[in-house]
Structures are given as C-alpha cells and as structure tokens.
C-alpha cells in the first residue's frame, strides 16, 4: 500500500490509549538552554596534564575548543625532564580519545567465551555482577584465587582495592617481561632498584655506554633530550648491539657482539679495569665489599677469552674498557630497560652494576644519580588482610622477584596448572596479556580455565574477546589518576594527571571504578576520601601545595633532592653489608652464583635466525598501533635482515615473507628490510604488531607479532623474568622455507651517520653466522 505525499500525515488517528502512551514517552538526550544565559563552552586552552602514550609520562598541554573537543596536544614547557618536548606518540594522543574502536560502555558476555558476543549493560549491572562473582570466589576458594594484572598508574586505585580484598596475586609485565632482572641485579649490588626514569646524569657524563639500549628508537623524550645534549657537549659513546641502531650510528665505538654474549663482554671489561689497575680504587676500598673475590673470579676472563665468545676483537674490548676508565667517575653506563633476554638476566644486571661500581659511577656526578623520596603521604586506609602465599612464585620459586610487581608468567602457569592452588578469576587492567607475556597459547588455555575474566581497558585489545565483563576506562586525557611522583630526577617533582576533556560515552576513570567496587565489596573504608580532588590534596599536602594551586602548571618541584653521595659523611648502602656488594652472600645463600658467570645461549639452528625485537619511536608496546596518526606513519613493522644473507637467499628488499619459528608457529606477512645494519645470524622486528583483535580495525593483522613467535622462553631463576630471545625463525616465502646454505660476513659495511668530526672509531663485524641478540624495552 502506498500513500500520496498530500495524504501523508494528514489523517493520522490513533487509539486514545496508544496516544496517551506515546505522548507520555520521553526523550532525554537534549535540554533547552536559556537564550541569553548560555554562552557555550568557553575556549579552554592548554590544560596541563601528563601523557600516557608510554610510561615516560611527559608533561602535556591539551588544547580544547569551545565544543570541548581536544584539538591538539603540546609539550608542557614547565616539565623538568622534557622542557616542552613531546614525541610523535604524545602528539597523537588525542586520536586515542576519538578512536571509533574504543570501548564505550560496560559489556557483558552473552555468547561463548571467545565468540565476541556482548550486551551493553549499565555500570550498576556490571559492577553488581563483578562484585557478586568476586565475593563468591573468595567465599569458595579464598581471595588468593583472584589474579590481578594491572599496568600503569591508572590501575593503582584498583590495586589498592585488590589488596584490601585480600589477594596477593598482583602481577605486572613491567617486571617479568621487562626490567625485573635489571632491578634485581642492581638492588643486590647497590641496595636500590634502578627505577624509572633511569637516573643517568647525562648532563655531566663524559662517557655513555649502552648495552643494547637503543635510544632514538626507544624514545623517552626526556632521556633522548639528555642524550642529544650529551653528544652535543662532546660526551663519548660506546654502543653494544648486534644491530646498527640509531644510537650505534652516533657512537664512537659500536660493538656488534654475538647476541647473548653480553655478560662475557662485561666480565672482560671488569677484568681489564681490575688487572690494569684502572678502576676507582678509593671508591671501591671505602664503599664496596668482595673485591678480592671478584678479582680472583675474573682473573681468567680476559678480553682474549671474551673475544672468542662475543666475536669482538680482544683489542677492542681492552680499548673500550680503557676509554671508560679514562672518564671515571663520569661514566653513564645505561642500565637498560627491557632486560629479559636469555633467562640469566639478573646476572647480566649484576655484571653491569659491578662495572658501574668499579667505575665509581654510582651516586657520582656524570654517572648514576641517587633518587630522592618525595613526601607525598598515602591517604589513610585500614590495614589490608594478611594475604595467602603467592601463586606466582615471587619470593619463593624466584626468591628475588618483586612481591610488588610479581611474576606474570608465574601466575599464568599457576592458573594453567592449578598449582599451588586454583586461580579462578583474572582482572586484566590496561594490560595486554596476549601480546606481552610469551607463549600466548598457554595464556589462552589458562584463561579458558577461569570462572571469571574481567577486562578494564580503553581499547578492545586481544583479551577482550575472552572477557565475561568489559569495563571501559576513560582515557588518560579524561581522568584524574593518582599523583605521579618522580623521585628519579635531579630535581624531583610531583605531577598531576587531570581531565583535559570530559570522558566520552560511559567510560569512567579508574579511581571511580575502584571506589564503586569497594562499596559493593564492603571496602568503603579503604576509599575514605570525599572525592578525587580531596584525595590528591591530601597527597600533595606533604609538598605544601594544593591541587588547585598546581593545576595550571600541572606539577610541583621538590627542591630537596640529593643526587650525589655526600662523601664527607658516612655512606651506607641498603645492602646487608651496608656496602656495594661485588660478591653477593644473598645470592650464594639461595644457591646462585655470588658473582656473575657467563652462560652461553643456545646456538642458532642451521637455517634459522635468532629473533630479536625492540622498539619504534612511533609506537609503545602493543598499545598504539590503532592510533590513526601513528598507524598512518607506521602501519606495520618490517623485518631487518642482513643484506648479504638476503642476496644469498634471493630475498628482495620490500617483499613480504612469513616467519616460522622452531616449533612451527607461523607469522603473518612481514615486509623485508634488507640492510647491512644487522648481523647475519639474527633478524629484528619492532614489537607489538599483528593485533589479533579484529575490533582494532587499523591494527588488525598488520605486520607480524614477535610475541606470537615466542612459543619458548627461559625463566631467570633469580628474578622469574622471561628470557624471550631464545626463539629462532626461518623465512617462509611462497609457502616454502628459504634455507641458508653458507656463512656470510658483513664486515666493513657499516657507516656512521655522525658528522666527520666524530666518526665511529671502531666497527667490528661478526666472524660467524651462527648466533644471536639485541635489546630494548
């Protein structure tokens, strides 16, 4: 039946009942504004906050238009570490807030787990369900049956909640998949973690030493700035890396060692410093213990010994050690960041710390400066219940693992095996457990064993598909977070994250989610503050300011930092002996080598390459690949492969191949980057690509995932960190493996991009094909 235009709407009749019902129906999306009273939202420019596009948390200024739209983000010139600079990721942050793929509403699973079928629910419905399930699990299995996987300062409120709830199983990849072994190594030696940002006094350093650290690709704006300034000032640079990284291109010495042999190089450097009497003798005599044991330990670990292992010339090892010694104590030996390489990484951390000590560079000008605690009191909260023993092995199986950050892979194992006790629920908060923890297949199997899987996030990352409940968190641009205190700064400071724009859709800040859950779990007293502003005021009270007073600048400095030791007073390190421990009784007590011992990594099987991975300046972890701007600049990663090897294999720059690892795991397509800038025994890709969540429309299936080629990992028995550079790959082209038929040397092919005034002095290239490695984090 059709209706003429003239008749349309002219003869509408309804039953009186229907009319009443329809007339009474309301819509609530709009409201009238007084014609004269409404001036529209005024332009608010330059709201200061802190970035979260990576963990460096630079100062930002958000520019918002009259509609409340964040138009652009600038660096905050008041920020002590970045001085107004901001990297590409920081500049692209507004695209996270306006990403159409972001999570918008609480979602409840209605299909099978993994099917991706959800129903939008209200926050009340979501949180009531969440709390009910947690209480049921605690009643039946104990609070320890709940595992919490947080990441970032936004998760601190929920972590506080989980501690109040009673679970000990709180685990972050920042430890076991990143800097855990480094911090363990330095803590065992100096009594303190390195922490973040790494407290390197590049402002005064005369020599920078990077063991795999690839600043420039691994962009932390403040550190990059300091690095560039140090180079400009004339500081020297030694870079140890199997790859001709951006940092290597700036180096005075580039040492492309055989991957996995770093500890041998470090021990040989230690040998040279001691046996050529070049170390800082007064510093060691006064502040260190175990020197004689160390001297004996490294007696045979000569540069000649290390040369055979590292494939670096003995003379170069000796020369670089002497170069370092010539700048004592102003040597900035970068402790590294992503440190979980081969499963013996705490000992590599120890070797780096010991070398730092011999150079007299800890707590000294130009070396590593001391962190300064910031008086930001915690808001009063009732004592937490005494938790059960941990399931992840932190403090037990892995005696030196952080109990604060835990061992993610340990908790995955426990969930998978049900030992030492069943884990029934995971709460995954801003963490991508399937793209950060190796062996994602095991992680998936563990998830399948759970009674409850809750995901709190901004974007629908991989684990979202397996969630029973999804809670949309507001982006870092839309929320307050806990106070960010930076004690690793020569002038320490506290910075605030505050909303630049209102939260979009029904996303909520982490503090709100945690407090609402607390109400439902009977833990209100753990969140006794009136509102988030009052909470922050309380924390800032130790610095003598209020939130309101610092909102315009976004931060407050604390001028009482003491970056160097005052040697006019007794110096006591926080180790059992009170001294720098070159020899560790603690390690010995637990059955570990008290001094670092080189362990050879597994050799690369014939026909394979060692899989190395690292960073790009345009992306952070697996978090930013869906960002419109960043995806535009770098939509996919590529695979670095040595040019001579590529020629022998008939591979062409720019063509796509697949990778197959030693266990038959096949990668997505990846484009070849044929370059002389990598050893012939390894290939390299940037971490974080080939997202498996199709809801990340831009990132889905783009590039290859390093994590999904990590069916193996080797656990560091000291820290629990997962050595992940133990996987090997071969090239698959047109469905067939491309085999290496012989050794190829790339000697003499590397060039520095540095200007003629400071050419790379020494470039050495590997002798053999069979081998490995690199670094980053």
């Amino acid at each position: 039946m059709s209706i003429s235009r003239r008749d349309f709407l002219k003869k509408t009749t309804l039953s009186a009942g229907a009319f009443t019902l329809l007339s009474g129906m309301k819509v609530h999306g709009m409201e009238a504004i007084h014609p004269k009273g409404w001036k529209g939202r005024q332009r608010v420019s330059e709201i200061a906050s802190i970035c979260e596009m990576c963990f460096w948390r630079c100062g930002i200024l958000g520019n918002v238009d009259k509609h409340g739209k964040l138009l652009k983000i600038d660096g905050n010139p008041e920020h002590p570490l970045t001085e107004g600079r901001l990297c590409a990721r920081g500049n692209a942050g507004h695209k996270l807030a306006y990403d159409p793929d972001r999570l918008k509403y609480p979602l409840m699973r209605v299909g099978k787990r993994g099917e991706g079928k959800f129903k939008r629910v209200s926050w009340d419905e979501a949180l009531d369900f969440f709390a009910k399930k947690l209480l049921e699990i605690r009643e039946k299995h104990g609070a320890e049956a709940v595992g919490f996987f947080p990441h970032g300062i936004q998760a601190r409120f929920f972590e506080h909640l989980m501690k109040g709830f009673g679970t000990p199983n709180i685990v972050e990849p920042a430890f076991a998949q990143c800097r855990g072994p480094r911090d363990v190594g330095y803590k065992l030696t100096f009594g303190n973690n390195v922490g973040s940002p790494e407290p390197l006094d590049f402002e005064n350093t005369k020599m920078m030493v990077f063991i795999g650290t690839h600043i420039g690709e691994n962009v932390f704006t403040g550190q990059n700035l300091q690095f560039a300034n140090a180079l400009e000032r004339g500081a020297k640079l030694i870079v140890v890396d199997p790859r001709f990284s951006i940092a290597a291109q700036k180096a005075d010495y580039w040492l492309p060692l055989k991957p996995g042999t770093d500890t041998a190089l470090l021990l040989a450097w230690i040998h040279v410093l001691i046996y050529e009497n070049l170390y800082d003798k007064e510093y060691i005599r006064k502040y260190a213990t175990g020197f004689n044991a160390l001297k004996k330990h490294v007696k045979s670990l000569t540069p000649e010994w290390a040369a055979k292992i590292t494939e670096l010339p003995a003379g170069l090892i000796r020369e670089t050690a002497r170069e370092m010694a010539g700048q004592i104590p102003a040597v900035g030996l970068h402790p590294g960041r992503h440190f979980t390489w081969y499963g013996n990484d705490s000992q590599r951390g120890r070797a780096m710390a010991i070398l730092t000590a011999l150079l007299g560079a800890y707590g000294r000008k130009g070396g590593i400066y001391l962190s300064s605690p910031i008086p930001a009191p915690k808001y009063p909260s009732p004592a937490n219940p005494k938790p059960a023993a941990r399931a992840d092995g932190a403090g037990t199986v892995y005696p030196f693992a952080s109990r604060g950050l835990g061992v993610t892979n340990g908790l995955v194992e426990a969930t998978h095996s049900g030992e030492p006790y069943p884990i029934k629920a995971w709460i995954v908060y801003s963490q991508n457990v399937l793209q950060s923890i190796p062996d994602p297949w095991k992680t998936k199997e563990a998830i399948e064993k759970l009674d409850l899987m809750v995901v709190v996030d901004v974007m629908p990352m991989e684990q979202y598909l397996y969630a029973d409940l999804v809670l949309p968190e507001a982006t870092y641009l839309e929320r307050y977070d806990d106070l960010y205190t930076v004690k690793n700064a020569k002038k320490p400071f506290a910075a605030i994250r505050q909303p630049v724009i209102d939260p979009l859709f029904e996303s909520k800040p982490g503090w709100w989610i945690a407090r609402e859950m607390a109400k439902r779990l009977g833990l209100e007293e753990h969140f006794g503050w009136e509102d988030i502003e009052e909470y922050l005021d309380y924390r800032l009270s130790g610095l003598g300011v209020t939130l309101k007073q610092i909102q315009a600048r976004g931060l407050v400095e604390y001028d009482k930092g003491t970056p160097y030791f005052d040697f006019s007073k007794p110096v006591r390190f926080k180790t059992p002996s009170g001294k720098i421990e070159l020899y560790s009784e603690e390690l010995k007590r637990y059955g570990f080598d008290p001094m670092p011992v080189y362990e050879a990594p597994d050799e690369v099987p014939k026909g394979y390459f060692r899989l190395l991975y690292g960073r790009s300046p345009l992306h952070s972890f697996a978090r930013t690949q869906n960002n419109e701007i960043l995806n535009g600049y770098q939509p996919e990663n590529d695979l670095w492969i040595n040019d001579k090897i590529a020629a022998e294999l008939g591979l062409i720059d720019g063509e796509y191949v697949n990778l197959e690892n030693q266990d038959g795991m096949l990668s997505n397509n990846i484009k070849l980057n044929v370059t002389p800038g990598i050893r012939p025994d390894a290939v390299f890709m940037v971490h974080g690509f080939d997202h498996k969540s199709p809801l990340l429309k831009r990132a889905y299936g783009k590039g290859a995932s390093d994590t999904y080629l990590m069916s193996r990992y080797k656990v560091d028995p000291i820290s629990g960190g997962t050595g992940m550079r133990v996987n090997f790959v071969r090239i698959i082209k047109d469905g067939q493996p491309v085999m290496i038929s012989g050794a190829v040397s790339a000697i003499g092919r590397f060039k520095s991009t540095r200007d003629a005034r400071r050419p790379v002095k020494k470039v050495v290239v590997p002798r053999a094909v069979q081998s490995e490695e690199d670094e980053g984090c």
Partner: protein, 204 residues
C-alpha cells in the same frame, strides 16, 4: 474504540520522537511499548507497507517484553556498539563522513543545536551526532515550532547524506529484522516529510 486525530505537526513531532527513542539503546519502556503493539500500530499507520508489517510481525513473535528487550539489546550492541569481528554500523555521522568520533560534523551540529537554544544533556553519554540525538533535536525543534525551512535545510544536510550508508551496513549485518526495517521506515518517513514540506513551501 475511542480514537484521537493528530494534527500534522503532532504527527511529525511524535514520529521523530519515536524514531529517536528507537535508536537509543533499548530499555524496558520501549520494549513494553513495542511488545504491546503501540509503536507497531503507529508505524503501520503512518508508513503502511511491508517494512512496518515485518517489524511488527517479528516483535509479536517474541515470547514476552523481557525476551524482546534482551534480543534488542544484544542486537543493538552487536550492530551499533561492538561486535566480532567488526563493528558494523556505528550511529555517529562523523564515523561515516570523517572516520572518527567527535569530528567536525559533530561540532557543527553542536553549533546548530546552540543556535536553536538546545544542547546535548550533560548526563547524555552519546556523541552530538548520534542518530538518536539528531532525531530528538528535530522533535524538539518541531515542539518549539521553529521554522520548517530551517528544519528542512538542517534535515537534508544533517541526516540524509549518511543514512544510506548506515542502512546498507545495518541490512548487511543484522541478525534480526528489527533494525533493517526500522532504518527503512525512518528513511521513508524523512523522504516523505521533506517532500511534503517542499510541496507546501512551493504552495502546491
């Protein structure tokens, strides 16, 4: 049965209001009105034909209002909020015109709303260019009896340029007949309404 005859303006207002409500996330009230046949009756009345019939037939096939609500909520989530492997049909204009949220179109709409002394409610968690909000705005304009010529200009630029894309995506991805029928009915209604206004303006 007692009946009520609606004026043209009442009819148009009611239609935009109903369509607006139907494109917000479904709640109990809308499920009750649908299941009770009130909305179906209305749609069949102003837009008689197979789409209205198909919609009403499907609604009537559900076992209860609660069953209907559950089905609509799952379908709405699947079509407009999130779905595996791809979100089919977001309800934001900027998504189609600029491939992002809160784009220039959304902000232009905010300016238009303000021009007519409206704004998106502070408690509203949808974007200014969400289809339901646009429809609600038209309803409110009619309620205020704002000029039809302005409404027409706005309606053409603000609605019709992206609805065909939305409709296509809904049709291709819906697992239930409800939303495909609904978007067809909405498009038909707007076409008819604009034609009517044009005819009246020309004095025909």
């Amino acid at each position: 049965m007692e009946t009520v005859e609606l004026s043209e303006i009442e009819t148009r207002k009611t239609a935009y209001k109903i369509f607006s409500r139907l494109f917000y996330y479904p709640g109990e009230e809308i499920a009750r009105l649908l299941y009770g046949g009130v909305i179906g009756e209305w749609l069949e009345h102003i837009l008689p034909g197979k789409e209205a019939e198909r919609l009403q037939t499907w609604v009537a096939s559900r076992s209860s209002a609660a069953d209907l609500l559950e089905a609509l909520q799952v379908e709405y989530t699947h079509l407009f909020i999130t779905a595996y492997p791809n979100l089919p049909a977001p309800l934001y204009k900027s998504y189609y015109t600029e491939k992002e949220l809160f784009g220039a179109d959304a902000r232009n709409l905010m300016d238009i709303y303000q021009q007519y002394h409206f704004k998106v409610s502070s408690h509203m968690t949808e974007m200014p260019d969400h289809l339901a909000i646009i429809l609600e705005f038209i309803y409110r304009l009619l309620e205020k009896e704002a000029g039809d010529s302005l409404l027409k200009d706005f309606a053409i630029s603000g609605l019709t340029d992206w609805l065909p894309q939305l409709a296509k995506r809904i049709e291709e991805n819906a697992s239930l007949p409800f939303y495909p029928s609904l978007i067809h009915l909405l498009q038909e209604f707007i076409r008819n309404d604009l034609s009517l206004q044009a005819t009246q303006k020309s004095g025909a």
